[in-house]
């Protein structure tokens, strides 16, 4: 099932980026990290700081594909009382201030399963969610959420990885919409970084199989690395580095110190500078 014409915010944003002749910056933060109030301040500031698309982590107790930084963020958010419903509330609040920046929820299946797939999709659309990335739903399980999401009009963004060979790639791309997220290393989030040549070759390989934009993530920590990726891909995704920056603004009790949101947004501005200056 492929979506012939996609009128969603994600497609519009990538079309606009293409028109500008530059790559986009996709930023990840975990919903409710370190608390809902602080998270809201960061979230609302992201577009002005240069985030072109926003990934919002739906916290889960057992994030088995994530490294220590995002695991800790998930636990902070859960301790602060974040739920799937409150995550959707955050998106709804964001949509009141920003009608254009795509918001993609990223997480694991069980919280959505517990919420109920149909009800979750309806509430997500009502809140202004544009896409879903669900780490533990490979194409083999498309009937669970991917196909219902596409039918409901929510983009389902799939991860392609270095272990996804040419034989498997068509299956991975088949029901993918919005963009393809290329995981540049075999590993967990926030670990090692891939080398530029390998990323460039991987993006080219994906482009031979799909017309969708390709975003690259995992292991991008600095504006320079973001710029390197922006030279070869349609977008660079930064997650662990932002979350780590946020964690650096917590006091000994895990509470946000004054100025945390501004500091995180400052870092996002640096990353955006890297991405925007990449193709001059």
């Amino acid at each position: 099932m492929s979506v012939a014409v996609d009128h969603g915010r994600i497609a519009k944003r990538f079309a606009a980026l293409k028109a500008e002749g530059r790559a986009g910056l996709v930023t990840f933060i975990t919903a409710g990290d370190p608390d809902l109030e602080t998270c809201r301040a960061v979230l609302h500031g992201l577009p002005a700081a240069g985030a072109d698309l926003i990934e919002l982590g739906l916290p889960f107790s057992d994030p088995m594909a994530d490294g220590p930084a995002i695991q800790a963020a998930s636990l902070r958010a859960l301790h602060a009382g974040t739920t799937a419903r409150k995550t959707l509330d955050l998106v709804r609040g964001f949509r009141e201030t920003d009608a254009d920046t795509p918001v993609i929820l990223m997480g694991y299946y069980n919280p959505i399963h517990a919420y109920g797939v149909d009800r979750f999709l309806a509430d997500a659309i009502a809140a202004g969610v544009d896409g879903l990335i669900v780490v533990d739903l490979p194409p083999e399980e498309d009937e669970e959420l991917c196909i219902p999401a596409l039918k409901a009009g929510v983009n389902f963004i799939r991860l392609a990885t270095p272990t996804t060979d040419d034989k498997r790639l068509p299956a991975v791309l088949q029901n993918t919409s919005g963009f393809v997220y290329y995981v540049s290393i075999a590993g967990i989030t926030g670990a090692a970084s891939a080398d530029n040549a390998a990323v460039g070759a991987a993006v080219e390989r994906l482009k031979r199989h799909t017309d969708l934009p390709v975003a690259v993530g995992f292991g991008i920590k600095t504006p320079e690395q973001a710029a390197d990726v922006a030279r070869v891909a349609d977008a660079a995704v930064v997650g662990s580095a932002i979350v780590t920056r946020l964690a650096g603004g917590l006091d000994a009790d895990g509470k946000a110190r004054p100025g945390l949101a501004e500091d995180v947004l400052g870092f996002v501005r640096e990353l955006a500078g890297g991405v925007r200056g990449a193709r001059v």
Partner: protein, 405 residues
């Protein structure tokens, strides 16, 4: 729900037992899962693979182990005739080794160079470290810090066997976190590493593969009972955490309608004491998706996984193998539970009447026998899977009994 023609044909080609099971893993792991599935399918069709397993089970593990008539316990309870399937007499002291022999032979067949595993109580870790020593393969065992503290003898045993034991400090620092960490290792070391899962759970093909390797338990019981009594047993009782010893005992009998099956979950302080007081995923949980499969899970309203409690570190996993979830829903197997206290009582009863110190895991099944056997006629043949020996548990039992060692 309609009754299927056979209960033994699952899973389907996508790894489903009814609505349970499946392959809920990250894309990076998916090609590996498919590789394991293909390799296992080919291995099963190869008589040499089966021959190698049988040889190792006989010469190294010491199978077949006895189906032992527990005469004193039978007299004491005054009802059903009780037999113990003596898995605790296996090399390494538990049923876990059956599966490890099968999987290490598969890993070698696949040309893998490095083995990783998770462990809770340490029995699977010890069994994995054992086969890795035997086959000279590097072995990394992930174990929660909390479990490391309460299972020191097994930690030392693994190290003696040459394994590296990595303390897991994420989450609640117990078995589920060890499994998360093992998955993180696997996703990072995809090329050379084989993940040797210890129970009949995880993504397809693990639940079916582990079941197949453990089915030697039930296969032997069938032959031995025929020799001893000239007929099938009337009931089978086993404990369930992930459920590998139970499915191994049950599976060969699923299509024998006269054979009743009872699986015993860990009720901890009591199922009525709230979701954090027990580890009974089926009795006290609901279906969800974790660690690669859909199954009954201990979870809150928002789908966050809860940390179960049991006196037995081998049972306090918040999930259960998917085939058990299916067998529960269709009603082929009865799922009950035993509390910590009932387990401690059965543990001591077994030690004093039979001279066997059972693992706390197996003592859960014993607790059910204590409740059930007296109400049954003397010609009722009941088989308990004595899945492991209790030496590893004497420290925690002493603590619960208020004894200082």
């Amino acid at each position: 729900m309609t009754r299927p023609n056979t209960y033994r044909s699952g899973p389907d080609e996508r790894g489903h037992f009814g609505i349970y099971g499946g392959r809920f893993v990250a894309e990076t792991l998916m090609p590996l899962i498919l590789e394991v599935e293909k390799a296992y399918r080919e291995a099963r069709a190869d008589p040499a693979f089966d021959g190698a397993i049988r040889e190792h089970l006989k010469q190294y593990v010491g199978r077949p182990n006895p189906l032992y008539y527990a005469e004193r316990l039978t007299e004491k309870l005054g009802g059903a005739k009780i037999y113990f399937k003596r898995e605790e007499l296996n090399h390494t002291g538990a049923h876990k080794i059956n599966n490890c022999i099968g999987q290490i032979l598969l890993a070698r067949r696949m040309g893998k160079k490095r083995i990783i595993a998770e462990t809770g109580a340490g029995q699977h870790g010890v069994a994995t470290a054992t086969v890795c020593a035997l086959f000279d393969m590097p072995c990394v065992i992930y174990m929660g810090e909390t479990d490391i503290a309460r299972q020191q003898p097994n930690v030392f045993r693994m190290k003696l066997l040459g394994a590296e034991v990595v303390p897991v400090t994420s989450g609640a620092r117990t078995l589920k976190d060890a499994m998360n960490e093992a998955l993180r290792d696997w996703v990072t070391n995809v090329a050379d590493t084989y993940y040797l899962i210890g129970t009949a759970a995880g993504p397809h093909p693990y639940p079916a593969m582990v079941r197949d390797f453990q089915s030697v338990i039930g296969d032997e019981v069938r032959v031995q009972m025929q020799e001893l009594e000239g007929r099938l047993p009337d009931s089978l009782v086993a404990c369930v955490g992930g459920g590998s010893n139970a499915i191994g005992l049950f599976h060969p009998f699923l299509d024998d309608p006269s054979v009743q099956m009872v699986a015993v979950e860990a009720a901890g302080h009591g199922i009525d004491k709230g979701p954090l007081a027990h580890a009974a995923s089926i009795t006290g949980g609901r279906p969800g998706v974790l660690h690669g499969n859909r199954t009954y899970l201990l979870q809150d309203e928002d789908g966050q996984i809860l940390e179960g409690h049991s006196i037995s570190a081998g049972l306090d996993y918040p999930g259960v193998g998917p085939e058990h979830s299916w067998l529960h829903d269709i009603g082929r197997v009865e799922y009950v539970s035993a509390t910590d206290q009932e387990t401690l009582d059965a543990f001591q009863l077994c030690a004093r009447t039979e001279g066997i110190i059972p693992a706390l895991e197996s003592a859960h099944a014993l607790a059910e026998i204590v409740k059930r056997a007296p109400k049954l006629p003397k010609d009722h043949l009941m088989v308990l899977c004595l899945s492991g020996r209790g030496d590893k548990d004497i420290f925690s039992v002493a603590q619960h009994l208020g004894v200082k060692l």
